[in-house]
């Protein structure tokens, strides 16, 4: 299918441009690792009710969650808004390239970066913190990461419709995601949060992604490691976000 080939070609050019900004590329990959090191230092002394469960056991899957969200949601919400306001989307809209093929190119590139980040964070955890990678639950891991990546790409694209202009993109994107990350067992392990906060956190997809990843990484987990209900909530968010994106997406710059 020629449109699909065009989308893949778009990924190639996207990737070339991405690596030509080496500072941005470096920090894309270093950022989650910096968080991982800091959190491990800060929280390494805090005890756990489970004997032998260390900070690194929590933070390795948690930072994978953070990394995937950064590479998909944050990246798409910011970069697509910036491209929109720079007029790149409008220019593309005037060519025979179907709009969806252009966006699919960006999505696939975001997923590619997310995949590299998962490998890097998982390897970092295994090498420096001796956190075992759940090889035996690989199918469930791949499915969980796939559903999460699709969901957070869709949520990121949906958010672009709500971001008024490129200048507001970082503030809106970070303002939306950081509070949710803090209450969703990603940056801080919430053993005993107030009930209302636990309820709110379960409304958002981040908490379900984090719980699913923690479950996959937990050495006590038996069976496939798949958290069906968490994946279902994420997928529901993904579908809803896709509908919002289809309705509110704009190819025109907004100033």
């Amino acid at each position: 299918m020629s449109e699909l080939r065009l989308a893949l070609r778009q990924v190639r050019y996207e990737n070339r441009a991405f690596w030509r900004n080496p500072v941005a590329a470096f920090f894309t990959f270093a950022f989650p690792l910096i968080f991982m090191v800091i959190f491990n230092v800060i929280f390494s002394g805090t005890g756990s009710d489970v004997p032998g469960f260390r900070a690194a056991d929590f933070f390795t899957p948690a930072i994978i969650v953070f990394a995937v969200i950064t590479a998909t949601f944050t990246n798409l919400a910011m970069m697509v808004t910036i491209a929109r306001d720079a007029g790149i989307l409008k220019r593309v809209r005037g060519t025979p390239l179907p709009g969806w093929a252009y966006l699919l190119g960006r999505i696939l590139h975001a997923v590619l970066v997310a995949f590299l980040l998962v490998v890097i964070v998982a390897a970092f955890g295994a090498i420096f913190y001796d956190v075992r990678f759940p090889w035996d639950r690989l199918p469930a891991l791949v499915l969980t990461l796939g559903v999460a990546a699709a969901t957070f790409c869709a949520v990121g694209l949906a958010l672009t419709g709500l971001i008024p202009n490129a200048e507001a993109a970082p503030a809106v994107t970070n303002g939306v995601i950081f509070p949710v990350l803090f209450i969703s067992n990603v940056f801080i392990r919430m053993d005993d949060p107030p009930a209302w906060m636990a309820t709110i956190s379960r409304l958002f997809p981040v908490r379900h992604f984090a719980d699913a990843m923690a479950f996959l990484y937990d050495p006590r987990t038996t069976g496939s490691g798949l958290s069906g209900s968490d994946l279902a909530v994420m997928a529901a968010w993904g579908v809803a976000a896709l509908l919002v994106a289809i309705r509110s997406f704009s190819w025109e710059p907004r100033h």
Binding site: R9, Y13, R91, G94
Partner: protein
């Protein structure tokens, strides 16, 4: 008559209660350079963006290369090239990569190097776009619009922000494209640009076409008066029969038939042994016609208040 490249009848675009385009008719023949000339806010960009398929019209008939642009058909987009008033481009790709990227969207693209040569960026071929000057980036815009070898090219204010030398070069380039057989639809608020480039000009003001025609006839200029302007050495007197009016230190004669008058005047000056200082033959400029027409259109607006 050949099928028109652009055919517009009764085109309207309303934003709320404001009519940005208030019912215009246009016809652009294949191979023509057509300029839509008007002041800022007259409805130029709205009109051209409706023709490009970027905006939906509120009413009227529009046919561009036989397509209704509002339907956004892929086949339509394959046949047009668009240079928007301002657009971004990926700054980390080189000129050649960007042109090749866009060329890949079209069924019969022009060769990348040929396009780059056409817009005069051969030396910048492998430079990243982020490192180019503003004028060079504008040429990249043109190169990208040409990548698919379009039949019809839309240029929305192609030289705004250019220095005079760059404008001349851009004009040469646009003439070169017309020589390749492209139809060119450009908007501009520069009278000299319309005059220098266009086969036909339509003047738009307050959403209406107030005049249309070849630049040399626009606003009745073909049969308007010509003025002769000159100065005389101190002490010499001009005969009454010339009916001259004084304009500052100079004299002016107005006539519908400049040839015999000029003969009479110079004959008299030679006979008297007088030098006519700074002798000029003045045709009403497109600028004069334009200002008169656009001011009249704005004054006629029902919502115009004193």
């Amino acid at each position: 008559m050949a099928e028109a490249a652009v055919q517009v009848a009764g085109l309207r675009k309303n934003y709320g209660s404001l009519a940005a385009v208030a019912g215009i008719d246009l016809r652009v023949a294949p191979g023509e350079i057509f300029a839509l000339l008007g002041p800022n806010g007259a409805g130029k960009t709205t009109t051209v963006e409706i023709l490009e398929g970027h905006r939906q019209r509120s009413g009227g008939e529009v046919s561009v290369l036989g397509h209704d642009p509002a339907r956004g058909e892929r086949e339509f987009r394959q046949r047009i090239g668009i240079v928007l008033q301002s657009t971004g481009v990926e700054l980390y790709l080189t000129v050649a990569e960007s042109v090749a990227l866009y060329a890949g969207y079209y069924p019969h693209p022009r060769s990348t190097d040929e396009v780059i040569e056409l817009v005069g960026l051969a030396e910048q071929r492998d430079k990243r776009i982020g490192k180019l000057s503003g004028g060079q980036r504008r040429r990249v815009d043109l190169a990208i619009a040409l990548a698919g070898d379009p039949e019809l090219l839309f240029l929305d204010e192609p030289t705004t922000g250019f220095d005079p030398a760059a404008r001349r070069q851009a004009w040469e380039m646009i003439r070169g494209l017309a020589a390749l057989g492209k139809t060119i639809f450009l908007t501009t608020h520069f009278m000299d640009e319309a005059q220098a480039l266009a086969d036909r000009v339509a003047i738009i003001a307050a959403g209406r076409i107030v005049a249309e025609g070849p630049p040399e006839t626009l606003g009745g200029r073909a049969d308007a008066v010509t003025r002769l302007r000159f100065s005389l050495p101190t002490g010499s007197m001009l005969p009454e029969r010339f009916g001259a009016t004084r304009v500052g230190a100079a004299f002016e004669l107005a006539t519908a038939e400049p040839t015999p008058l000029l003969h009479d005047l110079t004959g008299w000056a030679i006979g008297e042994g007088i030098e006519l200082g700074g002798l000029e033959v003045l045709r009403p400029s497109l600028e004069d016609a334009y200002l008169i027409l656009t001011e009249a259109a704005v004054a006629d607006l029902p919502e115009a208040r004193a």
